[in-house]
């Protein structure tokens, strides 16, 4: 074969090793990049700061005497450093990101622009309330939309993320029980085995004992199992609905009734709300409190692990105990209630008023979709998941048969038994095909779980290619091509990383004592 300069070409695998190894370690656009502590220098700065001039410091005896040891980069160096780092990340904007339970949908850029309007991005949380009426209007409007979509009486806006919202809801429940004089008696929170880890961690964080409830063979919780676990010592049941197996809990209404009959409260983990927005109002099912992950359902960007926002919708029974601050509408003005004194509020979750930047993005998302688009988005999310489920059902095994799923399709590893390929191997091979792996080994109630959530953002063509790629991988498993899996990924910026070594000998920061590898030394590897 000749290229268009008339030079013979052959596959890279066929050429000598010295051609395949580069001096720099880069491979064309795939750049190696050192740490800022290796490439930066303390005397370099990328920010011009005015000289302070002469003055008499007022620091007492507390002026810094120790060096800080912070490297600096000029602006061009910094741009290059971070752009190179960015290119080692997978992202929604690059491809399908089917992480079950995480709802990796498209992040509209309009929302970014709106959050950066000076009237939202450049206002201080403690400015006089008269100078931030538009901000309070936005929070109040968002709260209205959230209560309308959930059927709630009130919403606590300040929680910073999903788990923080869980804590908020459970603290409201605890406060309500204290007010009833049952705080000391009700010490147990029921959590199904399939729950997210945050649920039991939250219950324990605020002092509850956790009692697990088993799931049925079909992945759902039965009213009998809930009833058997309920008693006068139970404060609340925490249930995810749709659950972590991607199924709507069919007995949720009866479970809620049983919980209330036993004098307890019903907390719903709203991580999977994206399946049912505009289709079901959670409060109609008997829910007392539910957090909403604005960074999942309402598309505020995940940002490599946050920030999120976790407003909590509350039933009329719990609304009085909501944390401060909250907004009060007085005629045509908005006022802030910032202190719990004189109210039944359980107190404060965080400094200031919550994740305003996320509120603006979520509001922009909601206005863009409207009531009609929000419902369509949920339907498309569920349709996409079921399409994947059906198109893979003959090559992969589903733990609960051919029941329709909600917005995520769950597979187990029975189909991999005896092949020498594990769920982890299969997931890593997906990386070579240009996909982020699905959620693995969760929920814990399913062996070798693979939880696929495509979201509504995928076109049919995108789904078809994904399905064909997974089918190709599955056929490869059947044909015994285990190397495609056991060594995967082959094409990512790094091959499989040694997590055991990281945990056994933790290196959690850069230190000078560490030998600094020269550029060509890194390259030589």
């Amino acid at each position: 074969m000749l290229n268009n300069q008339g030079r013979p070409t052959q596959p890279v695998e066929a050429v000598a090793p010295h051609v395949r190894k580069t001096f720099t370690g880069h491979r064309a656009l795939a750049m190696e990049e050192g740490l800022i502590f290796e490439i930066g220098r303390a005397e370099v700065t990328g920010v011009d700061v005015d000289d302070a001039g002469e003055f008499t410091p007022r620091l007492g005896k507390l002026e810094r005497t120790t060096p800080i040891d912070l490297p600096g980069l000029s602006e061009p160096e910094a741009m290059r450093h971070y752009v190179r780092l960015s290119q080692k990340n997978y992202a929604i904007d690059l491809g399908l990101y089917p992480l079950g339970s995480c709802t990796m949908k498209h992040n509209p850029r309009l929302n970014e622009r709106m959050a950066r309007l000076p009237g939202f991005g450049d206002i201080h949380p403690l400015q006089p309330v008269s100078t931030v009426q538009g901000a309070l209007e936005l929070i109040d409007t968002l709260a209205d939309w959230l209560t309308e979509m959930t059927g709630a009486s009130a919403v606590a806006m300040s929680p910073k993320a999903g788990a923080h919202g869980e804590a908020c809801g459970m603290m409201a429940i605890k406060a309500a029980l204290e007010a009833r004089g049952e705080g000391a008696q009700r010490r147990v929170v029921l959590v199904p085995e399939s729950a997210h880890g945050t649920n039991p961690a939250t219950a324990a964080l605020i002092g509850y004992d956790v009692r697990p409830i088993p799931a049925r063979d079909d992945g759902t919780v039965s009213v009998e199992a809930a009833q058997a676990a309920l008693g006068p010592e139970v404060a609340a049941l925490m249930l995810t609905n749709p659950n972590t197996c991607g199924l709507f809990e069919p007995e949720v209404v009866a479970i809620a009734q049983a919980v209330h009959a036993a004098g307890a409260y019903f907390y719903c983990d709203g991580a999977n709300f994206n399946a049912i927005v505009g289709k079901v109002r959670p409060m109609d099912l008997g829910v007392d409190a539910m957090h909403i992950n604005l960074h999942k359902t309402f598309s505020t960007p995940h940002g490599g692990g946050g920030p999120g926002a976790g407003p909590v919708v509350l039933s009329a029974a719990l609304a009085p105990f909501a944390p401060v601050p909250f907004i009060r509408k007085d005629a045509d003005k908005f006022a802030f209630v910032e202190h719990a004194e004189g109210t039944q509020s359980f107190g404060r979750m965080t400094a200031f008023h919550g994740q305003m930047g996320m509120f603006v993005r979520a509001m922009s998302y909601m206005l863009s979709h409207g009531g009609d688009g929000i419902r369509q988005a949920s339907e498309d999310a569920v349709l996409n998941a079921n399409y994947i489920r059906v198109c893979l059902s003959d090559v992969m095994s589903a733990p609960f048969g051919d029941k329709p799923c909600m917005h995520e399709a769950l597979f187990d590893d029975r189909w991999l038994k005896g092949t020498g390929v594990t769920t982890l191997d299969f997931a890593k091979a997906m990386i070579d095909e240009g996909y982020h792996p699905m959620t693995m080994y969760f929920p814990l109630v399913v062996h070798g779980a693979m939880l696929i959530e495509p979201t509504e953002s995928e076109s049919k063509a995108s789904l078809d290619l994904f399905i064909m790629a997974l089918r190709d991988l599955a056929f490869s498993v059947q044909k015994g091509e285990t190397e495609r899996f056991s060594g995967a990924p082959y094409y990512s910026p790094r091959r499989r990383l040694d997590e055991t070594r990281a945990a056994r000998t933790p290196v959690l920061r850069w230190t000078k004592r560490k030998p600094i590898p020269a550029a060509n030394q890194i390259a030589a590897e």
Binding site: G46, I68, L70, D284, G305, S368, K460, L497, L508, R509
Partner: protein
Amino acid sequence: MRYLPLTPDDRADMLARIGAENIDALFAAVPADKLLQAPPDLPRHKSEMEVERMLSRMAARNVSAGSVPFFVGAGAYKHHVPASVDHLIQRSEFLTSYTPYQPEISQGTLQMLFEFQTQVANLTGMEVANASMYDGSTGCGEAALMAHRITRRRKAVLSGGLHPHYADVVRSLSQMTGDNVVSMPADARANEDLLSQIDDSVSCVIVQSPDVFGNLRDLKPIADACHAKGALLIAVFTEVVSLGLIEPPGAMGADIVVGEGQSIGNGLIFGGPYVGLFATKQKYLRQMPGRIAGETVDAEGKRGWVLTLSTREQHIRREKATSNICTNSGLCALAFSIHMTLLGETGLRRLARLNHANAVKLADALTAAGVEVVNDTFFNEFTVRVKGDATALVERMAAQGVLGGVPASRLSPNAGVDDLLIIASTEVNTDEDRAALVAALKQ
């Protein structure tokens, strides 16, 4: 709808392939009487232009910090953030990626977190730092719980200089768990007697420096007193720029350091999202909440990074986890780290010095104008005593187009601090801004 790629034909084809008669067949598990028959009672979808118009109208009702002489602080600060920071954090690969659970395709985020952790540890003078908390206040609440786990005691002593919102967060959590909290009264002059509160039952003392009134606190004697009784010192800061000029808490004996990182890289955004900084000593590492990135090698021996020590965390340990935190402040940590990298040691020290100089200039001008400055020491924020009610004064100044500070009573309503005003001055203030504030306060 511009965000939904499926066409009606696609939907019909896919339903046929699934073997479902219509979309509601896929919702068959929902009790029939709970399935809504129509979209919720909300406006229909809107174009970009319409959304922009609506939200811009709301935004225009707010007075932005950059549009007026601005001196509001008390836990969040107006600083200049370089343009490149906001550009870089909006790169798709940072903005639209998830928590780095798949390290092979998340090395960008993981390396950045490793750099961030090192920057935070170096700034605070501590041995290890995590990959961020939601903000300073929630980090403070977590630090108290961590101290309780380490000491197996359940009593926290809160300085009267601790930001009242931070104190509220600690109290709300403690009220749930039945832990004890001793709150010292609001202490504008930094002359409280914390040492006499420290006995064998105390788990931790929480002290902020610069405190909420702006005073710098010498942490060394408090740390010594804590350690003599087996208690831990939790040091808090809300203005991270101060660490460029004042002795870091680690050098004064703090056991856990928590702070707000908003000032570097992040805007005011009406209170969030911000970024909580959390650092401690190596020996307490296993009790630290939150994610941690660590160094390792890949299958070819190349250096790389992973999330590590996750046996502390909720997704592994469930009810035995050190915290329930999952999502943190990744992108805000990135903004912090980029801005800090641009500054470097030289830039940060200059910036801190300029902040301090501006505050000193303002304090001197106010003193000259007959306004009482309460503090002996401060960094870029101090407290003045005004005639009458500070809240009314702030409203009056706002009407004149000056955002002149935070009335202490807004944070602590019944603490006898109605005549105290907390004023912050950073590098963004000009001589004209200062003159406007002095004039407004003199009236």
